[in-house]
Symmetry: C2
Subunit: 123 residues, 2 copies
């Protein structure tokens, strides 16, 4: 698969809410996932597919997704960018809001080996 093909599959699965299928089929076992920020003292980096699946499980358990839009993929070499727009409710606070973020992916041997999320912290 080309980088663009991996990106198209990822976008398709995320649009359908099948993020865990995307993780299982498109991600390398040693993937690194990088957030724009996190709680004080906690690393923004998550290493390895198992830990990334754990992060996804926490997210799914704590959010209701009302709609998901994916803009992309936009490729360059072995990387591509997608924009995600989620209409979600954060269950613990019953707070509904729109989340927008960019994600930069790096592909090696047909698998995503790195994902970096870009968004503003706070307000």
């Amino acid at each position: 698969m080309t980088t663009l093909e991996v990106g198209k599959k990822l976008a398709e699965l995320c649009k359908e809410g099948k993020n865990e299928v995307a993780l299982d089929t498109l991600y390398a076992s040693d993937v690194v996932s990088v957030e724009a920020g996190g709680p004080p003292g906690q690393s923004p980096e998550t290493q390895g597919l198992e830990a990334v699946l754990g992060k996804a499980k926490w997210w799914n358990d704590n959010h209701t997704v009302h709609s998901a839009e994916v803009d992309g993929p936009y490729p360059n070499g072995d990387q591509f960018i997608c924009k995600f727009t989620y209409d979600i409710t954060f269950k613990p606070e019953n707070k509904r809001f729109t989340m927008q973020e960019m994600a930069l992916y790096t592909v090696k041997n047909d698998k995503i080996v790195r994902e970096v999320f870009f968004y503003s912290m706070g307000a």
Copy 2:
């Protein structure tokens, strides 16, 4: 300036069509600019502000910009991403079309030292 502040200035200037002001004030002299592709045998990388200004001049001379939208900046550490949507006419062929691309910027000492453009080639 923080990375986010550099990103906000860039977005503001590009929205106003002041791309050359952005290059003059926000870019490092040794900036590297990377396209997603280019003519066969030609490097997608442009090195140094003078050459990047030359690339911008070619672009401005050959396109009429009817409107420019900038979505972003979306920051992470010393990098940020913007999405650009241009309604343009390519003058040599009098062909009007919408161009969408993502751009990933790296900031060092308050200046943009690297920009990488992401978009699909062809069709």
